[in-house]
């Protein structure tokens, strides 16, 4: 049984392998980038706005609101990073309605890459807000004894981010695959609908957790 889309190989030459994950990821990126370009080509600030612009604005203001609620002072600074994470994960799981599609987030390499982005972005944002010394000092809060535990938590939460998204997406594909062999008529559709819900929740959770980590790293102590 194909656990992930890594095992679908389209093209192989030397040590370069073009598997399903890479192809679907790039297709998704193309669709999202071109779609965003097309929608933002004719933006209107007054008068009637197009439906696409309206829906895009709803998404953007919704994400901004959520980032602000988590406790990040200026949501605009973090919107590009967190919004991209959310939109990518969400559209990847939304596309499971397309037959024959396997979500690229159901592969551990994609989710590990996304988690590594968060792992690198958190110190970068922290250093930008508090300076290098100020950021490094947060590791010794509340006392110096907590230093190793803070470092371990930094690593383990990255692992948790990657494995959580991978497990949820992979289990969705897996359950549908198993159900197709047992009860091929109605139940796979029900489980796919459930998979849509899980995918949305996971996209939300992934970006909210990233926002929480960034908020923890950028908190400047107010005297």
């Amino acid at each position: 049984m194909n656990l992930t889309s890594d095992q679908q190989i389209f093209w192989h030459h030397g040590f370069v392998t073009l598997n399903g994950t890479i192809v679907t990821t790039w297709a998704m990126m193309l669709v999202m980038a071109i779609g965003a370009k097309l929608i933002t080509r004719r933006l209107a600030t007054e008068g009637p706005i197009s439906r696409w612009q309206g829906s895009l604005e709803i998404i953007i203001t919704g994400i901004q609101q959520q980032i602000g609620d988590v406790g990040l002072g200026e949501p605009k600074k973090y919107l590009s990073f967190l919004g991209t994470l959310f939109l990518f994960v969400a559209s990847c799981s939304l596309c499971i309605v397309i037959p024959g599609y396997k979500p690229p987030t159901g592969s551990l390499s994609t989710t590990a890459a996304l988690a590594l982005c968060v792992f690198i972005a958190v110190p970068l944002f922290g250093i930008r807000e508090q300076g290098l010394g100020g950021y490094l000092k947060t590791y010794t809060k509340p006392t110096l004894i907590m230093l190793p535990f803070n470092i371990i938590s930094e690593l383990s939460r990255t692992l948790a981010l990657a494995v959580r998204l991978f497990g949820n997406m992979m289990s969705g594909v897996m359950i549908v695959g198993i159900l197709l062999t047992i009860t091929p008529f109605i139940f796979p559709i029900v489980m796919t609908a459930l998979g849509l819900l899980t995918g949305m929740v996971q996209a939300y959770i992934f970006s909210i957790l990233a926002a929480v980590y960034i908020a923890a790293a950028t908190q400047v102590r107010k005297h």
Binding site: L3, Q66, A160, V163, R164, G167, I205, L209
Partner: protein, 93 residues
């Protein structure tokens, strides 16, 4: 008993145990947290946004434990390194 059968039996039994116990305990934790969140939602409907967000983040944290167990059991069944090792050895003989 043959060596490969032993590996297969232990892998399958462990996979079942892993997913069984690993679902049971996080389910208890999730039930507890949802019940508490519902209680506080009923007491303070105004704080619903904060409560719901914290609940979701907490549920994701708890659920990741169950997901770890699921991943481990899937590895044991479909991508077992010991099983491939045993097969490779018996094939080499």
């Amino acid at each position: 008993m043959d060596n490969s059968i032993l590996v297969a039996v232990v892998s399958i039994a462990t996979a079942g145990l892993t997913i069984g116990i690993g679902c049971m305990c996080p389910a208890l934790g999730e039930g507890k947290s949802v019940a508490t969140a519902l209680t506080s939602l009923a007491q303070q409907p105004d704080a619903s946004a904060t409560i719901t967000r914290t609940l979701f983040v907490g549920l994701a944290m708890i659920e990741s434990l169950a997901i770890y167990c699921f991943v481990v059991s899937m590895i044991l069944i479909f991508a077992n390194p010991f099983w491939t090792h045993t097969i490779a050895q018996s094939g080499g003989k």
